[in-house]
Symmetry: C2
Subunit: 204 residues, 2 copies
Amino acid sequence: MNKIMIGGKPVEAFMEEIRKFHGWVAPGVLLGGFMVDYALELVGQEVEADAIVETRFCLPDAVQLLTPCTCGNGWMKVLDWDKFALSLYDKKNRQGFRVRLDVGKTAAFPNLYNWFMKLVEKKDLPLEVLNRTILEAGREVLSADPVTITRHYAKIKKGKTGVCPSCGEAYSLRQGALCLSCQGDGYYQIESPAEIFLKQAVSY
Amino acid sequence: MNKIMIGGKPVEAFMEEIRKFHGWVAPGVLLGGFMVDYALELVGQEVEADAIVETRFCLPDAVQLLTPCTCGNGWMKVLDWDKFALSLYDKKNRQGFRVRLDVGKTAAFPNLYNWFMKLVEKKDLPLEVLNRTILEAGREVLSADPVTITRHYAKIKKGKTGVCPSCGEAYSLRQGALCLSCQGDGYYQIESPAEIFLKQAVSY
């Protein structure tokens, strides 16, 4: 077998990067590596490309490891669509390529098909076996189309900043007269340190 | 001035990591570094912490650089709230700390205040000057509260996978009878390679 390269380096080095960044060598990020590598080759390394990822699971981390696009710099947008696909496109003319895991093509790799379609329990398909299948499959399970991006390409601008009259914290005025937390979307309850201490004492 | 440490390393090394990952040493990621570093100290390094970030701008990258939480591994959730705040919390008992940029405290650092409240043009506040102010301010412009997380803490599960009867691509059945793209949310138009070629020819 020829040496497998992802993002210009041996796949073993890429797998180590996955482990460090993502916490473990998740099959979705490994497979995603082949997808991003393919998309980069199609778009051309000389193109300054933005990314749209169609799932929040795993795939965004492959994009973040192999391209300059990150969650926080605005060059990668993540759609919560649960589709294992991504587009890289030239931010100047919105032309690029969409690469997807092609479920039809996975039929030749039953481990990959069974994992992707959730037909097998984790305990019955060890990670090492699944990842070996992914390395064997490589681009053979992918499909790509040239695309023109028609939505989600605009840079998201921050709105004007104000101070929420309820909590006194800064927020973007485009959220309304109050910040979203004070509008009822809050996700936390502030505790006094003593309460934290008591709860911990009770839990022992 | 004592050596400034972020995430256990000199801030200069952290700034180099920002440049490599985020593309440039964005003030929001640098400031975010102080916030994440503070939250990690409060929560305790021995705690396996999940993250909730209250803005999609910059701050998620500080979390990704300094904690095991990433966009793709599900340990970091990003709320599109436009508030410069984040919580790190123990995933077992949902107790942790919320750290925010405290706009009241920035009054002592006019560059920081003016940048954060968007009162100054980029050309009138060079990046180097702003970042120097952020290094001077450090935690002095932050506030922290002990919190219990009441929402958004659950691990997001993937739904059952099916094949969309319209496009033939795999998607999560929880999205409905068709994938979201075929429901009308599509963001791309597939081009034949010849069309791409013609458009490029015209644009020259």
